[in-house]
């Protein structure tokens, strides 16, 4: 029987799962790094330093931060779509390499040949950075297949949006994942809009946590703006997958403040809606308030963190601005490997 786990959605601020002070501080740093990095990327795009598509993660920071905190770094694999900068920063990839890839420079993570949507790291087990909506769900299921085949105990975390959740190959993957009990957590980042089309206008049913019901895959709806809720649910989901019970679905209810990409006319939603999220639900402000209220840090401590993060972002931006473009000879490399 298909299950909808309700434990987390029933939680309120009053009985929310608790993080340690250290975890709260880590989450604050990671989320702030994503926020400042993405703001800078947006500015550099506006200056013409970044081309093509550029999908910013601002507003959704708690999702990847909470999940990564609940995973085993360097062991568990992660894969996502094209809104991927935040994932890389939290997984520990070099911000300079990410920003230089955005500007198409030789020091970029893909030597400037991939761009915003195509960055990878075998070392950190980050498999992209995928530009085709939904493709990462089959690929991520394959990462879990490899984990089970090798018996290495790793879990695959496959992120996709509410838009991708309507793609056919997602359900082909759900079927195989459950059939073969593959260790994969499907993370649906429901930010309410697939480009400019609201979930109500694109999806026949909008409770995406139930999309695995036909395959008997358990799912939860999670407050994706609260890093505590994300972490708590991710712990449960990852444990479920790692202990041989097969896939798990986490629907993260989240929100992106910026447009779909940089060239978004923003005509499809009201300004009030965006403002309300920013003022009342912001993932970073929630942690900041808790840290101050609990007396863990002072305003000055937080300012110091802010200054440190600005320095990291400025360093990345400077590197990405001044690093040369790839050598012309790179045009012909990395097409195939010489056997």
């Amino acid at each position: 029987m298909a299950r909808k786990a309700t434990a987390t959605s029933a939680k309120t601020q009053a009985n929310a799962p608790q993080l340690t002070n250290e975890q709260e501080l880590d989450a604050f740093r990671e989320m702030l790094l994503i926020r400042r990095f993405e703001e800078k990327a947006g500015q550099m795009y506006g200056m013409g330093l970044i081309g093509g598509f550029c999908h910013l993660y601002i507003g959704q920071e708690a999702v990847v931060t909470g999940i990564t905190m609940a995973s085993e770094k360097g062991k568990d694999a992660q894969i996502t779509g094209y809104r991927d900068h935040g994932h890389m920063l939290v997984m520990g990839l070099d911000p300079k390499g990410v920003m230089a890839e955005l500007t198409g420079r030789q020091g970029g993570l893909s030597k400037g040949k991939g761009g915003s949507m195509h960055m990878f790291s075998n070392e950190h087990r980050f498999y992209g950075g995928n530009g085709i909506v939904g493709a990462q769900v089959s690929l991520g299921t394959g990462l879990a297949f490899a984990s089970k085949y090798k018996g290495d105990g790793s879990v695959s975390l496959a992120y996709f949006g509410d838009g991708a959740a309507n793609q056919g190959q997602v359900y082909e993957s759900f079927n195989m994942a459950k059939l073969w009990k593959l260790p994969v957590v499907f993370v649906i980042e429901n930010n309410k809009y697939a480009m400019g089309t609201s979930i109500e206008r694109a999806a026949a049913t909008t409770d995406f946590s139930m999309r695995g019901a036909s395959f008997d895959i358990p799912g939860e709806q999670v407050d994706g703006m609260d890093v505590r809720m994300v972490y708590d649910a991710a712990k449960r989901a990852i444990e479920h997958a790692r202990s041989g019970n097969g896939p798990y679905i986490l629907e993260m209810l989240t929100y992106r403040y910026r447009g779909h990409s940089m060239s978004d006319p923003a005509k499809y939603r009201s300004k009030d809606e965006v403002t309300k999220y920013r003022q009342e639900r912001d993932p970073i402000e929630q942690v900041r308030a808790r840290l101050l209220e609990a007396g863990v840090v002072t305003e000055d401590d937080l300012k110091k963190i802010e200054t440190d993060i600005r320095a990291i972002v400025t360093e990345a931006a400077d590197f990405a601005t001044n690093d040369p473009e790839p050598d012309a000879s790179e045009l012909w490399t990395d097409i195939t490997i010489e056997a």
Binding site: M47, F145, Q169
Partner: protein, 461 residues
């Protein structure tokens, strides 16, 4: 003092209207605050602050049209910065690169350099066989089966997945016995979901496994072509050489018998178009074995195009411990001096039969089996045409953009002065495959068409 610049909404935007200011001089702003709205004919966008501080000066009034991208539109005084402070004195963390500097330093602004030459592919020759080696008669089906079994014995990371590959023993029996030898973990029956399982296999390859994906026929791989091209073929390049997809996609390709348009088609040209893929289409049993073993060992994604009609045909395969052939090397099936015929896979059957008749009639044909379509062994073809001055190509696929069209272009570019006649293509007819027996026969290339083309280029007709 950080300048707020007129941003671009898209890489093609050059100017826009500063529609509205949402802050005024003296306001305190922080990261993420909306400062202004700008408009183009396509869209409206909010300009957010990346800095914290006090708005010192508005440089472009609201309502101004035609504001060029990267024009400073306001000055923000960072916290702790005095109004008179020079930009150099501003804290490093808050400093912005001046737009003029950025433009001057951006290599993109430099005139584009000459395109470097593409590296030239050098094929290796087939390995020498030991003297007196025993030759065993095998069907193409058995040869393919042996290739997979031998490679799977040697490397535990190799597995095969596809529809009916395990318990059913293969829809065309190519995987017969593999389940019994290697078990269900390595011989995996899939649901009929090509898109999903092809993507799953690519993901498994990223994570270090060596998948063999069997498509029941290549017609069904159309469901999966996005994963083959966008995920597997391009992965190495777009990851700057970091992530690879060492794997084989294989199954029967080409014209089948009486199954009509959706199940009877040649995809050779389609996949041979794609950089990042290796494409192999063998004809003989020996090549089927030696090249499939090479494909499975290749560090690159390989499209291996078999042929249903050829599965049962037999040929002599050398009985050696490890028969592996070089990828990318054509085989000269018959040496000759009068005309060059180039083909591959099922086309070789028509070409071989035509060659026998032509030789009997006194035409000294040189017959080349491409075997690999990407990388294509141009050298062997060009050298032959320089000798014969004439080229006829034979394939089952459609004419437009086909393998013959590609060969014709290469010969035209590299051996034009040696040609004594136009290059002629013998191809499948430019129609979807019909069902009726007579029409189906007409739609395919045939021996007489090959002979007619050779007669035409040798001016014998």
């Amino acid at each position: 003092m950080p300048q707020i610049l007129m941003p671009a909404l898209s890489p093609t935007m050059e100017e826009g209207k500063l529609a509205k200011w949402l802050v005024k001089v003296g306001d305190t702003v922080k990261s993420g605050d909306v400062l202004a709205e700008i408009e183009t004919d396509k869209a409206t966008m909010e300009v957010e602050s990346v800095d914290e501080g006090v708005v010192r000066e508005i440089l472009v009034a609201e309502g101004t049209e035609g504001v060029k991208v990267n024009t400073p539109i306001a000055l923000v005084l960072a916290e702790g910065e005095s109004a008179g402070a020079a930009p150099a004195a501003a804290p490093a963390a808050a400093e912005e690169p001046a737009p003029s500097m950025v433009q001057a330093e951006a290599p993109a602004a430099a005139p584009s350099a000459a395109v470097p030459a593409a590296p030239k592919f050098e094929a290796q020759a087939d390995p020498d066989l030991p003297e007196g080696v025993e030759m065993v008669e095998l069907t193409v089906r058995q040869a393919l089966n042996e290739a997979m079994a031998e490679e799977m014995r040697a490397n535990p990371d190799i597995f095969i997945m596809g529809e009916e590959v395990a318990e059913y023993q293969g829809a065309y029996k190519v995987t017969q016995g593999l389940l019994q030898e290697f078990g269900p973990q390595r011989v995996v029956d899939t649901p009929i979901t090509e898109h999903g399982f092809a993507g799953l296999a690519v993901g498994a390859a990223f994570a270090g496994l060596r998948p063999i994906v069997e498509f029941m026929t290549w017609n069904f791989a159309m469901q999966a072509i996005d994963q083959i091209i966008n995920s597997a073929a391009k992965q190495l390049y777009m990851s700057g050489g970091q992530v690879t997809a060492p794997m084989v996609f294989r199954g029967p390709n080409g014209v089948a018998s009486r199954v009509a348009a959706q199940h009877s088609q040649d995809y050779s040209a389609w996949y041979s178009h794609v950089p990042g893929l290796t494409v192999i289409a063998p004809y003989s049993a020996a090549d089927a074995k030696g090249l499939l073993k090479a494909a499975i060992r290749s560090p690159n994604p390989v499209v291996f195009l078999e042929n249903e009609i050829l599965y049962g045909s037999t040929g002599l395969v050398p009985k050696v411990d490890d028969y592996v052939l070089p990828i990318g090397k054509a085989r000269i099936a018959r040496k000759g001096a009068d005309v060059t015929i180039v083909s591959f896979s099922m086309g070789m059957r028509y070409a071989t039969q035509a060659t026998e008749k032509l030789v009997a009639a006194g035409v000294d044909v040189e017959l080349i089996d491409l075997r690999t379509l990407r990388p294509m062994d141009s050298d062997t073809v060009i050298e032959s045409v320089k000798k014969t001055g004439r080229l006829v190509t034979v394939e089952e696929g459609w004419p437009q953009g086909g393998i013959g069209a590609e060969l014709s272009a290469r010969v035209s570019e590299q051996a034009f002065d040696y040609l004594d006649a136009p290059v002629l293509r013998v191809t499948g007819k430019d129609v979807p495959m019909p069902y009726a027996a007579n029409l189906e026969k007409l739609a395919q290339p045939n021996v007489d068409e090959v002979i007619a083309a050779v007669n035409a280029v040798t001016y014998r007709s």
